[in-house]
Amino acid sequence: MNRVDGKVAIISGGARGIGGMSAQKLAEAGAKVVITDLREDEAQVTLAAIKKAGGEAKFFKHDVAIEEQWEAAVKFAVQSYGGVDILLNNAGVAGAAKPLEDLSLDSWRRLMSINLDGVFLGMKHVIPSMKSRAHLWPGGGSIISISSIMGFIGGARAVAYCASKGGVRLMTKAAAIELAPAKIRVNSVHPGFINTPLLRAGEQAMNQRQEGGFQKFVDDVVSRHPLGRLGEEQDIAHAVRFLASDDSSFMTGTEVVVDGGYLAQ
């Protein structure tokens, strides 16, 4: 179940974190995976793990905010593996935690270019290849975009991030309606706080700056998840794999919330 044998996946931001784990899970389930990222060294580590487990994957260096690089990434996937069936729009940044009044337009635009433009461009450029192969699979092509619980609710000092993730949520629905006749499904995944390198990035700074430091931050965050823990990368990767597989053939335009109950309270 949740197999993706013979399918080709592009995973943006696939070097590490949720993207890296999704790459491993999809490869394990039978997909050929193109990992794209700016982080070449970490991508090599993920590639090695996939190959060691008997999977198939390649790396393509790629900035999701640049349109020509999306064209090149899709071309690379088509030349390497014959087409694209699954796109995981995972690359994203959290942005600096700044109050709205201090957020520069440049910072806002930079975040939008990665978190929102990147998803638009990814969808736009995989459509032709995905369309041509959608008939091969009972569930057609599958686009999965990583939004966030912050695509539903607000957070202080995260105005750009929340706006971008809310945008991903509704862009997903618009694309789902538009691409349904072409047999391409489009769904969003909404993680709660996940134990990733992105989350741990602020550890040192927090330990120096605040009382209680990083551990207090984690404890506070955990307490907002009724299941009483942070999410793990594989929690999200399993949802991604389900949406990538033909087992979710009748799902499009939906939001899969994987948040330990954060939003339900």
Binding site: A176, A180, G253
Partner: protein
């Protein structure tokens, strides 16, 4: 993937339709399945089918609005299979075709009893057994409530069904919050119109309500699913099986919408 080895599941309304497909798929994934239903012969047939495929299942006659019936059903699962890990609250009726103004209080109460009271009773009586074994599994115990897209949006001439399914949606979240400390996850599934006997009859009634025939109403309803078809029971069973498995360990209080894009537009 989505494996359920060693787990015990109780599926209400498990003789046929969504419940039957879920029972079969969960058995194929390794679970021991107690099918409960009012349809004894059909239920016995489903058990025979599961056993023929090498699975493990049993049938129990069970009226989901009967409190003693619930106590018996949970006891039967514990006595027969050693415990309970998964509860699929699937039994329900559709009541369509009449506007609110023509619906009697008795009709309203009957639908609310079967589609909503039954879930309250199921959660109430299954929780001790689920909690007793929750620590055995990374994902704990799992309750899956079958709501509907009609728990998310309205339509004419089905008010009691829609009210009940909306109730299921929020009952799920309330129970998810309450049961998280006991390691029991609670999620709802929201099917679009799916090819089952129940939906077939409901479509007839809906058609009568607006003065069109069975085929015309079916085409009208199918056209509201951007994917261009109605669902099939296995579409829903795949989502149920995912939520039953430890692959969804970090999901609770979530709504999994399996509707071919119906509510996204």
């Amino acid at each position: 993937m989505n494996r359920l080895d060693g787990k015990v599941a109780l599926v209400t309304g498990g003789a046929r339709g969504l419940g039957g497909a879920s029972a079969k798929l969960m058995a194929a994934a390794g679970a021991k399945v107690l099918i409960t239903d009012l349809l004894d012969e059909v239920g016995a047939g489903t058990v025979a089918e599961i056993e023929k495929a090498g699975g493990n299942a049993a049938f129990l006659h069970h009226d989901v609005v009967n409190e003693t019936g619930w106590q018996n059903a949970v006891k039967y699962a514990v006595d027969h299979f050693g415990g309970l890990d998964i509860l699929v609250n699937n039994a329900g009726i559709a009541d369509a075709g009449k506007p609110i103004i023509e619906t009697t209080l008795e009709q309203w109460r009957r639908v609310i009893a079967i589609d909503l009271d039954s879930l309250f009773l199921g959660i109430k009586y299954a929780t001790p057994a689920l909690g007793a074994r929750a620590s055995k599994w990374p994902g704990g115990g799992s309750i899956i409530n079958i709501s509907s897209i009609m728990g998310l949006v309205g339509m004419p001439n089905a008010a009691s069904y829609i009210a009940a399914k909306g109730g299921v949606r929020l009952l799920t979240k309330a129970a998810a919050m309450e049961l998280a400390p006991s390691k029991i996850r609670v999620n709802s599934v929201h099917p679009g119109f799916t090819e089952t006997d129940m939906v077939k009859n409901a479509l007839k009634d809906l058609g009568k309500g607006v003065g069109v025939g069975e085929n015309v109403i079916k085409d009208m309803i199918t056209a509201r699913h951007p994917i261009g078809r109605m669902g099939v029971p296995m579409d829903i069973a795949n989502a149920v099986c995912f939520l039953a498995s430890d692959d969804s360990s970090f999901m609770t209080g979530s709504e999994v919408v399996v509707d071919g894009g119906y509510v996204a537009q």
